[in-house]
Structure formats: structure tokens, C-alpha cells
Amino acid sequence: MLTDPRLLLLSPRDSVFVLRGQIEAGETVWVAGIAVAFPQALGLGHKIARLAVPQDGQVIKYGAPIGRATHPIAPGDHVHLHNLRSDYTPTYAIEAKP
């Protein structure tokens, strides 16, 4: 299954890839055999879904759970604060940005 070389798989059972190169706004990128359009740029270290994860299902990275899906996640989705939550303490992030 064709995957862009900027997408790094850390462990065989991971549900996400990690970006090791920037994706520019408007690019179409191969993710596990699917052509995915990215309207917004994504920087290094961000996660893109490799496998589908149902709502409340565990998201796996480094072969270990990193939290649960707050909405169903499809392959190619950007996985971040909008669809993943901690099983321990909630994540704080500044929302208002210039």
C-alpha cells in the first residue's frame, strides 16, 4: 500500500503515522494506499491516521495507547486535539492565536 515517505510508522500495530516532513496546504498525499487531500499545512511531528478507529477506541502510537478517539477516525485524518483525548488528564492548549 503506497504511503508518502514523509509518513513514518513507528511500530507495526500503530493506528497513526508521524510526519517527518512538512505537508503543504493543498497537497494530495498517499496514506496507506489512499490519496488524501490536505487543505491546510501540517508540520513535523503531527499524526495522520493509518487505520480506522471507532469513537472511544484506543489510538496506538509507539505500539502503546495514547488516548481515545472522541469521534470516529478514518485513514488519512489528521489526529489531534479535535478527535483524540487523554485517558489520564485533559490537555490544555491556548486557543486564541493571532
Binding site: 517527518r20 513535523l44 502503546a64 489520564y88
Partner: protein, 394 residues
């Protein structure tokens, strides 16, 4: 490598004068005194006026750190810190020590002049102090990460882990920490303990951290971590955990406990008992200070977003995880682990670079933050119980 031999058998890789203020009210005088020797005199101190056993012990450990050759204690005069005990403990190690009480020395100007005279004389004496041969097995090395992003856990942290494995194999003691950033890793980490009882202690330390942070309402997670692609504390933890490498875990220590022999140690930095005094470590330098109190000669600092800090007393080696950040802040960074992402270096190569730089730093080569004059220091209130008997298996 050569180092300065201290009376307790430890050896220092630097030979600085610590100028130690015992309350914020004495901070300005301490800072002005240290200006007489910006490279050789380092300001450390405790801002609080109320007594605290942890802060007392930390200052005692720091003033007898192997990188410290002489100590000037700067007291206002009415604070609760036990300056007599600190002076006695330093004197008992054979180090030159002087206590300057501002209220008894005619105030600011006179205290600064008196302090500068004493520091200048010590600097001159330390410059003539003899050195002895030093081996890797004499070293204690700490590691922290700060300003982490999604690259830290795949480049800088695992590379620091490889350097740790090489250091442990050569007989050094290595310390990793921040149990609040190991939440989610307790199971895989406990499997590496050298005894089952130590495994229980490791799991308990992370459970304590999870309870502590749950009470505070925030995990050990800053907004910039999310900008860098990290979403949850357990994801950040798995990345942070990579700093520990693959060696067996020899023990669990708390700030100020000195590793008794070579090996890999976890430092439990979360206070014991009910939640008091706020967040365990309010910023990265609080972690570096605790590593130094446990004897760390040098600290590896992995950063993704780009921290610029150094430290008083012990050099900090900064490892850039993110190649874009390295390009922006290369003057502040000692190692470019981001090279792993573009394929221009392997994890093993960066791990070897870090190991080699630790030895060069221990041999006297200044790190970037030292050369830029960084000497950050912060110490705040905490409360700990002593470690249990299972924490350091014989």
C-alpha cells in the same frame, strides 16, 4: 578526562564558586557579588522566607556538589533558612566557605564589596587547584526534555537513550525523571526493574504523579507541545520515556539522593503527601536543579520547540530534536538530532555524538549554553518522604 577530587571521593568537571542566597531579599546582593567573575562564580539560592526541609537539603547538596570548589552564603539575616547548618555542612567537606549576613555587614554596598573580595580570592585559589584523572564511571549524567514536540520522541529522546546505554555500559550513573511525564509508561517501565519490589515502587511513583496532576487539573503538558503535534500526556510520556534507553533500571531515587553506583535510575520528582505548594516542577530548570542535587555533573536536554536555557554549576547539553528548529536556533544547540528525520544521520550516529560530547564537556569543553552565559537556577517549596528500602536494591 581530569577532574577535581572532593573529600567525599566524588570528582568535579568544573570548579566554580557558588554564591548562595538564602532568601529573595539577598538575591540582588548575591547577583552583584557574582558579577566580579561571570564565568567562575555561579548564583544559586532559595527565595522563600518560610522554612522547608526539602529546600534546605537541596541547598546543602548543591553547595557540596562536585563541580563546586568554594561557597559564599549570602543571608539577609532574618530569614528562616538554617544558614548555620549549611555553613557547617560545607565546611565539613573541606571547601572554603564564608557566610555574609547583609544586616551585619553594613547593608548592600558594603556586603557587595566584602563578597567580591572573598570571591575573587577563591577564584584565584581554585585556578591553582590540582586535578586528578577521571573515568566515565566517575560521572553522573541526567536527562530532561523540555519544549517537546512530535519529533522529540522519535529523534532526540531515543538518541539520548542510546547515549545513556553507552554511558551505563561504561559504568556511569544515569538519571531520567519526571514521573508526571511517564504516565502511561508505568507497565513497560516496571518490566525493566532489577527486582520485583523495585518494579512495584516504579509503578507506585507514576500512580502518585497521575493522582497529583489530576488534583491540579493539568497534566505536565504545555500549550506548545500541542502546536508541535502532541495531543495527550500519555503520547508525550511515551516520547519522553525513550530518553531512558534500554538498560535495566537499577533504582528509584528522589531529589538529593545520590546514585550509589553506576546504572540507570528513575528520579521521582512528585512530592509526597497531599497536594501542597502547587505544581511539582514549575519549569524545566527546576528539574535540572534536582538532577544536580543528586550529583549530576552534566544534563542532556532534548528540545523540539527550542529551549535556550543552561544552568548554574553543571553544564547543559542541548539536543535539537526538530531540524526546522535547529536551523532557527543552531547557535543555542549542541547536537542536531533532527538530522535523523531527513536521513542525513542515523539514531546510532547521533547517540554516539551525544556520548562523545558528554566526554568532551567533562574534559572542560564549554557547551553552547555555557559559552552564551546561561546560568539559570530555580528552587521552590516541596515536601518528600525518604525512599523505601526496595528503591535501591543492593
Amino acid at each position: 578526562m581530569k577532574g577535581w577530587l572532593r573529600s567525599d571521593g566524588r570528582k568535579g568537571i568544573r570548579n566554580v564558586v557558588a554564591v548562595a542566597y538564602l532568601v529573595e531579599c539577598a538575591h540582588h546582593v548575591a547577583r552583584k557579588i557574582a558579577e566580579v567573575a561571570p564565568e567562575g562564580a555561579h548564583v544559586i539560592g532559595f527565595p522563600g522566607c518560610y522554612p522547608n526541609a526539602y529546600a534546605q537539603r537541596m541547598m546543602e547538596r548543591l553547595c557540596t556538589h562536585p563541580n563546586v570548589g568554594a561557597v559564599l552564603i549570602v543571608s539577609l539575616g532574618c530569614e528562616s533558612f538554617n544558614r548555620f547548618q549549611l555553613d557547617q555542612i560545607v565546611a565539613a567537606t573541606g571547601r572554603p566557605v564564608q557566610t555574609l549576613v547583609i544586616q551585619n555587614t553594613g547593608g548592600t554596598r558594603s556586603s557587595i564589596d566584602t563578597g567580591r573580595d572573598w570571591v575573587a580570592r577563591q577564584i584565584a585559589a581554585l585556578a591553582r587547584a590540582p586535578t586528578v584523572p577521571m573515568a566515565v564511571s566517575d560521572l553522573i549524567i541526567g536527562t530532561v526534555c523540555g519544549g517537546s514536540d512530535g519529533t522529540s520522541g522519535i529523534t532526540g529522546n531515543p538518541a539520548a537513550g542510546i547515549a545513556f546505554d553507552k554511558l551505563v555500559a561504561a559504568g556511569a550513573a544515569c538519571i531520567f525523571e519526571e514521573t508526571g511525564e511517564l504516565i502511561g509508561c508505568e507497565g513497560i517501565m516496571a518490566d525493566r526493574a532489577v527486582t520485583p519490589d523495585l518494579a512495584t515502587e516504579l509503578r507506585a511513583s507514576v500512580a502518585k504523579a497521575a493522582r497529583y496532576y489530576a488534583t491540579l487539573g493539568y497534566g505536565s503538558f504545555a500549550s506548545g507541545n500541542a502546536d508541535g503535534g502532541l495531543t495527550t500526556i500519555e503520547e508525550k510520556s511515551l516520547g519522553a520515556y525513550m530518553k531512558s534507553g534500554q538498560s535495566p533500571i537499577s533504582g528509584l531515587i528522589k531529589p538529593g539522593d545520590i546514585p550509589p553506583k553506576g546504572g540507570l535510575y528513575l528520579m521521582d520528582v512528585v512530592p509526597d503527601g497531599e497536594v501542597r505548594f502547587g505544581f511539582p516542577n514549575i519549569s524545566d530548570n527546576a528539574e535540572i536543579v534536582e538532577m544536580m542535587a543528586s550529583g549530576a555533573h552534566c544534563t542532556l536536554f532534548v528540545t523540539g520547540r527550542g529551549s535556550v536555557v543552561g544552568s548554574a554549576i553543571s553544564p547543559v547539553i542541548k539536543i535539537a530534536a526538530n531540524p526546522h528548529m535547529y536551523a532557527r536556533l543552531s547557535d543555542d544547540m549542541d547536537i542536531n538530532a533532527g538530522a535523523i528525520l531527513d536521513g542525513s544521520a542515523t539514531l546510532d550516529q547521533i547517540g554516539q555524538q551525544i556520548f562523545d560530547l558528554v566526554l568532551a564537556t567533562a574534559s572542560g569543553q564549554p557547551t553552547r549554553s555555557e559559552a552564551l552565559g546561561h546560568q539559570e537556577f530555580i528552587l521552590t517549596y516541596k515536601s518528600f518522604e525518604p525512599i523505601g528500602p526496595s528503591c535501591l536494591p543492593v
